[in-house]
Symmetry: C2
Subunit: 152 residues, 2 copies
Amino acid sequence: MTPLSHRSPVPLDICHLAKAIEVIGDRWILLILRSAMFGVRRFDDFQQELSIPRTVLSGRLKALTDQGLLEKRAYKAQGKRARPEYLMTEKGQALQPVLIALTQWSDDWLADGAKPPMGFTHAGTRQHVKAAFVDEDGREVAADQMRLSLRR
Amino acid sequence: MTPLSHRSPVPLDICHLAKAIEVIGDRWILLILRSAMFGVRRFDDFQQELSIPRTVLSGRLKALTDQGLLEKRAYKAQGKRARPEYLMTEKGQALQPVLIALTQWSDDWLADGAKPPMGFTHAGTRQHVKAAFVDEDGREVAADQMRLSLRR
DNA sequence: CAGTATCCGGTCTGATACTG
DNA sequence: CAGTATCAGACCGGATACTG
């Protein structure tokens, strides 16, 4: 294969990665998911934490619920009136590995000497946990050993 | 902790994840990185594969090289005149786990019954490889065992 | 609180054309 | 090929106000 003219082995319109990018390839979407992963649930909390215009937040929350990444529910504290809250769905939580891998990339390549303000550990052993590739037997695979495989 | 009013444990301005989102939280940036991961190197190949306006592509490639994710070099085939090409730097390649994790998320949650058109395998064993979390001993850690840990 | 409405200025997008 | 130039229109960000 000459490097003169080269296209991706998978066309854009059937590429799952490309589909995912259409969903989460947006600054605000990602920032909202980050906050949600950290337990933020309410409109005004998102708004103040992110300094996001209310109209924009409104639109993004709609998109996120439409796509099933967040679920809008009524939360009722006893004695108080019900308030809406946005909770991560299972589908949304399934994005955690992506966000964690991204955090690590940032730690490694964007930190500029700064020690990471947070990390991830194993609930039981408290060992530090990192994103990696593993084969079917759970053994780690080095990045340079990864090969793309296509379906015919 | 009452769910009434809750903020993220790490402020936005020192959050490494938020920093990463500023870099890659853009549809075109991610699509370009996807193509680059698949071996696309040249301006017109990116342009045609992605149907991205040339001015936009120009800007994004500039941003990506400025940030050190891509490197612009001259490629010279023998007999032909030199042409520019954009290659992934080490920093850019380090994003692979993020893109692979995202691909898997899409396979699991966006596929809608469709079989994934691609996967990743180990170069030697040809076993299927997935993005996962491992502890310091290289053992896989389940998602629900992950805990956030903060620095004081 | 949790939104929707409105407005305005700026940036991005997308299309087309032009240049070395 | 690999871009830059130009341009109209869409969308976004930011501010403010209004409503249940």
